[in-house]
């Protein structure tokens, strides 16, 4: 009997959107005032591959998000605070649900934080800041994020604390995992010295994409998820099972892959609700570490 060749075709590892719990906004596109060596979408002052979202763009998606039952909203870039609409966007978002902004902390202004503090106090929901700093010293941080960025980000943290916020300090693990406890302990001490008396810390695994892939040669083809690996795996561990990202070029599958051509799934939530083949190298990191993008209060 002839063998049906299709029987040998590899099954694709498809992850289906279970529920749209987190809606991300690529609110600053790929524009950033910094050019970190490990930036997984190679943001810079001149990277225009994704543009800013306007207040009207975000408003439309917030309205649409109601019927999807979105639980939380996340804002990222690039550097969100470069977008002149950001403060108004966050004020509006807090009418719909909790908001988290991922910032490098280097461009914050007191008048913005004053408005945001008032907006959060008037809302049922939390406004969280995640400030990216890659280690407790300039010696660890600055080679990655740029000269004086440690000092500037710590000024941002001090300002946030002055306005009553409790920023989550987010660091990419640029050291060995076994050093976590030591580095986190040191970071707590440093933050205390800067007036932050109950520091919240989050460590992210390193993603080998964008500028980081150039730095470290990226992923080998062996590090890929196969369909068999998904059998019996709890896919709620993966961001793409419960999130989508609004960009100025359409809705993307997850915040990590927006640079990949196949990541833009369509222009409506409906089009973007289809399953996605998690065949990228970064998918293997998600598989290993779980929902790396969300806050600890989300589980």
């Amino acid at each position: 009997m002839p063998i049906n060749p299709t029987a040998f075709e590899t099954r694709l590892p498809i992850v289906v959107l279970g529920s749209l719990d987190e809606l991300w906004f690529q609110v600053a596109g790929t524009r950033c005032n910094l050019t970190c060596t490990h930036c997984f979408i190679s943001c810079s002052p001149h990277n225009d591959s994704f543009g800013f979202l306007t207040l009207a763009d975000v408003e439309r998606r917030l309205q649409e998000s109601v019927e999807w039952g979105v639980k939380e909203f996340y804002f990222t870039g690039g550097e969100p605070f470069l977008n002149p609409d950001l403060i108004a966007i966050l004020e509006r978002t807090l009418d719909f649900g909790p908001a988290t902004v991922l910032t490098n902390g280097t461009v914050l202004k007191p008048e913005w934080l004053e408005r945001l503090r008032a907006a959060e106090q008037g809302s049922l929901y939390s406004l969280e800041f995640r400030v990216s700093i890659d280690g407790p010293t300039p010696e660890l941080n600055d080679p990655i994020r740029g000269p004086r960025t440690f000092e500037r980000a710590m000024c941002g943290v001090e300002l946030l604390v002055q306005f009553g916020f409790l920023p989550i300090i987010t660091m990419t693990r640029v050291w060995d995992e076994s050093q976590d406890a030591e580095i986190l302990g040191l970071f707590r001490d440093v933050l205390h010295q800067h007036g932050y008396d109950r520091p919240r810390l989050k460590v992210l695994p390193r993603l080998l994409l964008g500028a980081e892939a150039n730095r470290t040669c990226g992923y080998s083809s062996a590090e890929r998820i196969t369909a068999e690996m998904l059998d019996g795996y709890d896919t709620t561990q993966l961001v793409c099972q419960h999130s989508r990202v609004v960009t100025d070029r359409g809705i993307a599958v997850c915040p990590i892959l927006i640079d990949s051509p196949d990541a833009i799934l369509g222009d409506t939530f409906h089009e973007a609700s289809h399953g996605f083949a998690v065949t990228h190298g970064a998918c293997a990191t998600c598989y290993q570490y779980g929902a790396i993008c969300t806050n600890p209060s989300h589980k």
Binding site: K71, S126, L166, L184, P296, S297, H298
Partner: protein, 234 residues
């Protein structure tokens, strides 16, 4: 009387709680703790991510596992993860964390009204009751669907008072109000100093005893969203 799960954890003598509940035939929904203890898993599956939080969670879990009898553990395995009840036409869904996942955190400041409304609509119920995060709160959505966190009896609520909380849910009766139910959150004072003594005798961590005596959480703080965290002392 209904219990929404996590019979042991934090405090001493978990077997005594099980006895009281079983002798009185109280309806119980399985919490993540009961699931873990029932199946002798390695940890409580509370969902902490911080190393210090996990350290204290593990001390509490190991104590509870060692002090829960085989008979109670077998009973815990039989508990349902959710339960539906009807109260004067109001469809109630009882769970521990959320109807989707026993250990899902539904915090007041990070759970949107639209999320709760969709959950109720998808599950064809009017009101969801849970407890997992240990802080009481409620929200009613525009279309008269809602969620209530009923509070917990095993640990004070990080507000500097030593009392614990439970909830009385009543049917509002047809036509009396636009809402079909009434909620009363009830603070319960008890002999917390005796509890602290018993915890010391059982060599439970001083950090837990401090929480009982002061009403401020000292551990498992990293999962709190900022609004809830700011209300506490640590």
């Amino acid at each position: 009387m209904i219990c929404l799960g996590d019979l042991g954890a934090f405090g001493p003598h978990p077997d005594r709680t099980c006895e009281l509940i079983r002798e009185n035939g109280i309806l119980v929904v399985q919490g993540n703790y009961d699931h873990s203890i029932g199946h002798e898993l390695n940890d409580c599956h509370c969902g902490y991510t911080d190393p210090r939080d996990n350290h204290f969670a593990q001390l509490s879990y190991d104590y509870t596992l060692a002090n829960t009898s085989d008979d109670h553990r077998a009973w815990m395995r039989t508990l349902p993860s959710q339960q539906r009840l009807e109260m004067d036409g109001v469809q109630l869904l009882l769970c521990h964390g959320s109807p989707r996942r026993t250990n899902e955190f539904l915090w007041e400041s990070t759970t949107s009204a639209q999320f709760l409304a969709k959950l109720c609509a998808d599950l064809e119920c009017d009101l969801i009751l849970g407890t997992h995060t240990g802080l009481h709160w409620q929200r009613t959505c525009l279309n008269s669907q809602g969620f209530i966190n009923v509070g917990v009896l095993g640990r004070p609520e990080n507000d500097g008072t030593t009392n614990v909380w439970y909830t009385i849910l009543r049917s509002a009766g047809a036509g009396r109000s636009s809402l079909l139910w009434e909620v009363e959150f009830v603070p319960l004072a008890y002999d917390h100093e005796r509890l602290a003594r018993e915890m010391r005798n059982e060599r439970l961590p001083e950090e837990f005893i401090e929480t009982i005596l002061t009403g401020w959480w000292t551990t498992c703080l990293e999962v709190l969203p900022s609004k809830e965290r700011r209300r506490g002392r640590w």
